[in-house]
């Protein structure tokens, strides 16, 4: 049975390279060289490059949402404050070294067809993020948690695009200020 740790090495390195350089621009040869494994090992874990891409997207989804939840909950205890703390998390992310936008937006860009498996994983990721926001909105006592979650998520997506395409460093705080309006709308008065 192939070793799980080798598999992890491959996925971790593929994640880094796909995120930095894109999916089509990153060859299998570069992945195995960086991961320090042979081509045969890679193909014993994954039937094809496409399957490896799917595996990296699933891992990224898990890692990203875990970090988002952890960081958001570390910053604020009350659900209402957490809705805004999401944007502080974004701000830190934007200023990380090697920030290259949202990997799922990038995947949707390269795999444009909605029925492409990678595109579908990206869409699922976005839905799961909205789910988390909706939970917090519900805990905070929002009148329409689903609507508020979509509003907040839409602002987050906008901020990500701003930060990556234009390189706007204020994107996160700008979006946070906007989000505050909708949070107040649903939780005050």
């Amino acid at each position: 049975m192939p070793s799980p740790s080798k598999r992890e090495q491959i996925v971790d390195e593929a994640l880094r390279l796909f995120y930095r350089h894109g999916f089509n621009a990153t060859g299998v040869d570069k992945i195995i060289a960086s991961a320090g494994v042979s081509k045969k090992t890679l193909y014993s874990h994954f039937r094809s490059k496409d399957e490896l891409i799917l595996a990296t997207l699933r891992k990224r989804d898990e890692m990203f949402r875990n970090k988002m939840m952890r960081e958001t909950e570390r910053r604020a205890a009350a659900p209402r404050d957490r809705l805004l703390a999401l944007f502080d998390f974004l701000g830190d992310w934007f200023n990380e070294d090697g920030f290259s936008g949202c990997m799922f937006i990038n995947a949707a860009a390269e795999f444009s067809a909605q029925d492409n498996p990678s595109h579908m994983v990206a869409a699922e990721h976005k839905r799961l993020v909205v789910d988390y926001i909706r939970e917090q909105a519900q805990l905070a006592g929002a009148r329409d948690p689903a609507a508020l979650a979509h509003q907040i998520n839409l602002l987050m997506e906008g901020a990500i695009v701003y930060a990556h395409v234009i390189g706007d460093r204020q994107a996160a705080t700008r979006a946070r200020d906007m989000a505050e309006v909708f949070v107040r709308q649903q939780l005050d008065g």
Copy 2:
């Protein structure tokens, strides 16, 4: 001297293919086959594929902003209404056949480095869109036209991501409703 109409044929076809399938995934051979020109003709107009990509992005920028302005101004006469009509334009665009997101977000995704020439054209496009919104905000009498323009544009970017990645058909109206809040904030009371 190479014929300008041939050049236009090449750029038009490259635009269609790059938008639908992505930049790296579209080979020069496919472009010349679709455009009905020989390889030599393409390379007499463009020194390299990269240069062709830049030319298509510049044309897309021109076409997109012209259409955006035309459609927005057709829908509403008053600058204030135009700020919201932008989202009606987006809604129509999202429902067009072959909608594949924003070509400049896609370009930034494939050419992730901020100093990549294609990425820089994408950033410039976004800045020019903001400029137009700011003009309208100013005409409408906004207290802080630049801030309002950024708010509206951030909502537009969010809507585009929603529409493309998740395939949300309501993205444009959702964003429009959100924009109304900020327009009111600056133009009423």
